[in-house]
Symmetry: C2
Subunit: 217 residues, 2 copies
């Protein structure tokens, strides 16, 4: 490129800087975890000095918590059961319709994970850590996860209303946990692991499990 990004920005721009810092942080923290995220690295990738980071955020703890907070909404949105066209409702048996909706939801989640894996990668690293003084980012991620769990419980209640509430909760725990595992498998295996295929298999497995649990009760 001939035109260097002109000299320096011509006016102080806090909002833009804050965004750049958070972008840099989510990348680095998603690659190296909490301890591995150094202010110097973030500052270098954001193209801003350390003092700017400390102007926007109280300390490292708050910085990483802010990263989780920012992705909160987008992440939960992917966990919402999508509506279905009325034609399908009429054409299919309820059980078959539920399976189809579960598969759609699974595909939606898989795509969200492929799209921005940094958030969950960081979240899971934080969740696995057990240091004496818990980082606020970990607390925050666990809260997000709790809300996600409630959402899955709700989705199961909608797709399989005849399931006992405690059974639905167990199934939701299983569903969410397996999704985490599939994500990790894809992180490890790269493109050798077909995340969409695995999530589809997962949706089927859950539907099969509902059928089995239904018979059992």
């Amino acid at each position: 490129m001939a035109s260097e990004r002109s000299a320096r920005q011509r006016r102080a721009n806090g909002e833009e800087s804050r965004r750049r810092i958070l972008d840099a942080t989510v990348e680095i923290a998603g690659e190296r975890g909490y301890e591995g995220t150094s202010i110097k690295l973030v500052s270098a990738r954001a193209g801003l000095p350390a003092s700017s980071i400390y102007w926007h955020f109280k300390d490292k703890d708050e910085l990483i918590a802010a990263v989780i907070e920012r992705s909160f909404g987008a992440w939960l949105e992917a966990m919402t059961l999508p509506e279905v066209e009325p034609a399908a409702v009429e054409a299919l048996e309820p059980v078959e319709l539920a399976r189809r909706r579960a598969r759609t939801l699974a595909a939606q989640m898989a795509k969200a994970l492929l799209d921005s894996p940094d958030f969950l990668r960081l979240g899971l690293m934080l969740a696995l850590e057990r240091r004496p003084e818990e980082p606020s980012a970990r607390t925050m991620f666990l809260q997000v996860r709790h809300v996600a769990h409630e959402r899955v419980v709700h989705a199961i209640g909608e797709l399989a209303p005849d399931l006992a509430p405690t059974t639905a909760r167990r199934l939701a725990t299983y569903a969410l946990a397996a999704a985490d595992g599939l994500f990790i498998a894809h992180e490890i295996g790269g493109d050798d692991v077909d995340l969409l295929d695995l999530f589809d298999m997962h949706a089927h497995a859950l539907s099969d499990t509902v059928a089995r649990l239904r018979e059992a009760q």
Copy 2:
């Protein structure tokens, strides 16, 4: 306690010290990840000076890799399909027998995880990290995981010999990934999450999936 652990050990004892260092490291690294594991912390928990650590291990990288290496065997052992009493072989249909064996294997894995969670917790943290210079511990864990994956493929081949090889591989990936996820769910949720129950549900889900895949092909 009146009797202080007497003064200091009376003879140099390398093997014992090495074990103490590795014990301390697996605990700390399992709690705080790679970067969070400082030599000073390990030295304090092992009750030995830093120089002893560096006498036994070349550097931090080798130390953490040694932790993974030591747990290698025990971990793979838990992933071995247990034999089954001949009486059961005769009494049950093949499909029902396969389900029972899968449940036994799942219970065995769940118990191994409850028994010593540090290894997998550390391994998963390492696996999620993506720093430019990969720690040898990560490479080593991925190798262990690869062997584990092969074992699951083999177990599926034994329990469901009619499944196409590629299908068996996909299923093995799914099985192992979900197991990781369930472990994490238990790490997060503590005793609110019944790991044995979830693994049993997983064994059923896999058996159901085999049935479905069998029909599909």
